[in-house]
Amino acid sequence: MSEHGGNGAVEVASGGNGSPALTKKDFASDQETRWCPGCGDYAILATVQQFLPELGVPPERTVFVAGIGCAGRFAYYMNTYGVHGIHGRAPALATGLALSRPDLSIWVVSGDGDSLSIGGNHLIHALRRNVPLKILLFNNQIYGLTKGQYSPTSEEGKVTKSTPFGSQDHPFNPLALALGAEATFVARTVDTDRGHEADVLRAAAEHRGSALIEIYQNCNVFNDGAFDAVRAKGREANQIRLEHGKLIRFGVEDERGVVRDGGGRLSLADVADVGEDALLVHDAHDPNPSLAFALAHLAERPTGPTPIGVFRAVERPLYAEAMTAELEKAYADAGPGTDDLDALFRSGDTWTVE
């Protein structure tokens, strides 16, 4: 088995395994895409197909494991190996694949309902275990495939087919949940922002371990405009782009920034008022997730200035990495044979009848 993509971390642009450089075409399947015209999923698909060749991992060693939902259809459009599993269980299925095949580059595609409603438990366990999976959470704050019920990320009071008088429940903050679940890599990007999206995908691919990437995805049929504040043309000013080691500032001319007030709380300020030195420096590598968590809560909803980019990226041993290596070695060198079996059978008390 090759070293590429091993344990989910790949040196970007490694040029592939000698094979002629890969192109977008190598990752596009012959299946007709079947999302609604104008769906944000198209943009994400294009970006991913465009980006993957960079990794130099050939399609046959790339696997997309998808849940059920519009997002889940993604797998069919990739010319890689893929499994379109059952609703909410993609992280679990992908975990089994990752543990048995550390040589593969494994991507999970899932919607906000798939990942955070029925699949919440598998998501948080995959994250805490740090299984080498790159999880793309297409968050459109709605159930698309089932034609428009609210999701765990929909705003309170949302009127949908299942909530004609407005939804009753307080939504999750997906990144805060992931951080609470000990995630080692947490990021956010926007469907149509190809450049930023590719940067985040690259960072996720370089990360050794599980990566949760929330992608704001517009469902133009059942929840159009949910992310206009940060997505619509001319709203880039609302994008607080986090970059490790850099001051956290934003605005058309970077005239605003994030500061920590006396009480230790984060807030937004005009650089002019507080001065550059007061601005917070982003530290995605802080082993303690508290700063990332505070940033995740800087904007409860994407209705105003909202951080995007890599919130957290820290090193932690991969789930079962040592064990798996040991097992593979045991298996590889002296692949257990019938003699080992005979010894095993006869371990413990035996007796013989002539």
């Binding site: 399947s29 299946q31 399609p59 046959e60 060693r61 997309f64 494991v65 998808a66 059920i68 797998a75 069919y76 990739m78 010319n79 890689t80 190996y81 893929g82 499994v83 379109h84 599993g85 059952i86 269980r89 679990a92 299925l93 992908a94 975990t95 089994g96 694949l97 990752a98 543990l99 048995s100 095949r101 593969l104 438990n121 598998h122 366990h125 079962a320 064990m323 798996t324 040991e326 097992l327 593979e328 045991a330 298996y331 257990p336 044979g337 019938t338 003699d339 080992d340 079996l341 005979d342 095993l344 059978f345 006869r346 413990g348 008390d349 035996t350 007796w351 013989t352 009848v353 002539e354």
Partner: protein, 611 residues
């Protein structure tokens, strides 16, 4: 002083005491020595359901029964001939099953006021005539043990008292002339690192043995000659270990790395524990967050080219249903082992029952047929596991292997095979496009099995999922005719396995008008009961099903050949439904739903009534 020796053909001994009294250990050591003598044997532990109920309470009683004989035996035995009771609670819960006139040896020291109260005895049963119909041996085991270990420095009398189970073992070992050295060696190895403990336990064991030799109240002891057995190397094995070895063997013989993902549940956890120890064989084990995840992990591993297995018990099976259905659609090898326990719902987690057969067949939405294999005896779990894997891999399908609590925990001798004689198994991974340039993941072979192409194989990229697939291409397809075709293909593939399994073997007897048809762990009881009936001149035939889906080709023929068909089951009658529906024969049920296995004696009566 030399005592009389009587010979016996078969004996059933039950060790009973408080959870803390180490009865399982005493029983297991007695079984080991018994096996080494060459007696045939079957054991049955009976754990309390509680974690550790209050010491001395009825709920806290732990027992271990062993049935051994100079001929082949088949069940852990019904009524014990000898009961060892370490405290009043143990006596109360186990006395009812002791044979009239049987030997009951009690630890006199355990019959204290508080213990009597905890056992809800108003009067001391040793005094009030409760035991009049039995041979009673009152032995102050605790104090004798303490005395025996005095002078061993570093051993408090509290520690010493803990060794009383070995004292008991010593007495019973003498009673049945078990070799001393076997146990002695075990103690030495076991406590190699703790010499004082070794010394204490050894002293206790010997004290017990000597007590037997010297005590007035023991005038005779017994001898049970070796049972005739096929030549070869044997070991004692329970269903859990046998299944584990079967899975590892399947992995070695197929070159498929073994991947087990499970969520702990009694009694299935033991298999997870056992397999997690076999690094050397590259066995990957994962304790998943729940049973749904476990099944999905195993399926993911299968997609990756490993041997994906998940083991669970009733409640966990419910949770795996949707994923097993996905496996039926993906047509990937997946082995799900159901160690059945008493239900419904949480039920009686430590008790046995085999009431999941119809769930295994129909417990998924839509038409999702799959093969079902059931183990018949503890040792046979080894073959059952091999066979289940063979079917899963050959036919690219989920397979359900049914075991139960009794099989998992019960021990019997196993004639150890030569690994080289085990059938090799070729996973037959796809390496080339099926169809010129194109790869058709759902183009089938003559067995209707589809190609298994694993990630990493260049040019065979494909996406599979739970949506209905187009024949051959595997693309998503919602057309009416295609759905009809695929539904039939999935069914025919499973039905076709009937061509690839042994026919149903009948243990016929001339003049027999009744067939006793069994499946699963009723094997021993049925064989034993039939033997008893025949001994008395009764005419009855017997057959046992190892494959529940599909059924062997000749099953219909067999059941139609008899006027009466009796199906004993530890459920309310499940296989009987299948037989009646399939073959329209008026098969009748003998059912026992008590959290216990069926015993040969009771089944003997049931058969005799109906002959």
């Amino acid at each position: 002083m030399n005592k009389a020796v009587e010979e016996k053909e078969r004996v059933v001994v039950r060790f009973a005491g408080d959870s803390g009294d180490g009865m399982q250990l005493a029983g297991n050591r007695f079984a080991a020595a018994t096996a080494l003598i060459g007696n045939d044997l079957v054991t049955l532990p009976d754990f309390p359901a509680e974690i550790r109920a209050p010491a001395g309470s009825l709920a806290g009683v732990s027992a271990f029964q062993i049935h051994f004989a100079s001929r082949d035996i088949l069940t852990p035995g019904g009524q014990p001939n000898v009961l060892v009771a370490m405290n009043p609670a143990a006596l109360k819960t186990n006395l009812p099953e002791l044979e009239r006139g049987g030997i009951v040896m009690v630890n006199e020291d355990g019959f204290t006021e508080p213990n009597l109260r905890k056992a809800e005895y108003d009067a001391n049963p040793l005094e009030d005539g409760t035991l009049d119909d039995y041979k009673v041996l009152r032995v102050p085991m605790t104090s004798m043990t303490v005395r025996a270990t005095e002078g061993i420095d570093g051993v408090s009398s509290r520690d010493a008292a803990r060794s009383k189970n070995l004292f008991a073992l010593g007495v019973v070992s003498w009673m049945y002339s078990r070799p001393v050295d076997v146990t002695q060696r075990w103690i030495e190895q076991k406590f190699a690192s703790k010499p004082t403990l070794a010394e204490a336990n050894l002293a206790a064991f010997k004290a017990g043995y000597n007590f037997g030799e010297t005590a007035e109240l023991l005038q005779v002891h017994y001898e049970v000659k070796p049972a005739p057995a096929e030549p070869g190397t044997y070991r004692g094995i329970n269903g859990t270990t046998a299944a584990a070895l079967g899975l590892i063997s399947a992995s070695v013989r197929s070159d498929l790395p073994l991947f087990l993902a499970s969520y702990p549940i009694t009694p299935a956890s033991e298999l997870l524990h056992e397999l997690s120890r076999h690094k050397r064989f590259g066995v990957r084990t994962v304790q998943a967050e729940d049973e749904i995840a476990a099944a999905n992990m195993a399926l993911g591993a299968s997609f990756g080219g490993h041997l994906g297995v998940s083991v669970t018990s009733g409640p966990g099976m419910d949770l795996k249903a949707e994923t097993i259905g996905l496996g039926v659609m993906l047509e990937l090898p997946l082995l799900v082992i159901d160690v059945q326990r008493a239900g419904p719902s949480t039920g009686m987690p430590t008790k046995t029952e085999a009431a999941d057969l119809l769930m295994a067949m129909h417990g998924r939405h839509g038409e999702s047929p799959l093969p079902i294999v059931a183990a018949a005896t503890p040792a046979q779990c080894f073959d059952a596991a091999l066979e289940a894997v063979r079917i899963a891999v050959t036919y690219r399908t989920p397979v359900i292997l049914l075991s139960d609590t009794f099989l998992a925990n019960s021990t019997e001798p196993w004639l150890v095979p030569d690994a080289a004689d085990l059938p090799p198994l070729d996973p037959g991974f796809a390496t080339e496009p099926t169809n010129g340039g194109e790869f058709l993941p759902y183009r089938r072979d003559e067995r209707l099995a589809r190609p298994w192409a694993i990630p990493g194989t260049k040019g065979l990229q494909h996406v599979i999922g739970g949506l209905e697939k187009e024949d051959e291409t595997g693309n998503v397809n919602y057309e009416a005719d295609n759905h009809a075709v695929m539904t039939r293909l999935r069914a025919d593939k499973v039905a076709g396995i009937a061509d690839d399994i042994d026919e149903l073997v009948v243990d016929h007897q001339d003049g027999a008008e009744m067939l006793v048809l069994g499946w699963g762990s009723t094997f021993g009881a049925i064989k034993g009961a039939v033997r008893r009936v025949r001994k008395r001149g009764g005419k009855v035939a017997r057959a046992h099903l190892y494959h529940l889906n599909p059924l062997p080709r000749n099953t219909g023929e067999v059941v139609r050949a008899y006027d009466k068909v009796l199906v004993p089951e530890t459920n309310t009658g499940q296989l009987v439904k299948v037989i009646r529906a399939e073959y329209l024969v008026d098969a009748q049920s003998y059912t026992k739903v008590e959290g216990l296995p069926i015993f040969a004696e009771e089944l003997d009566d049931a058969i005799s009534e109906r002959l």
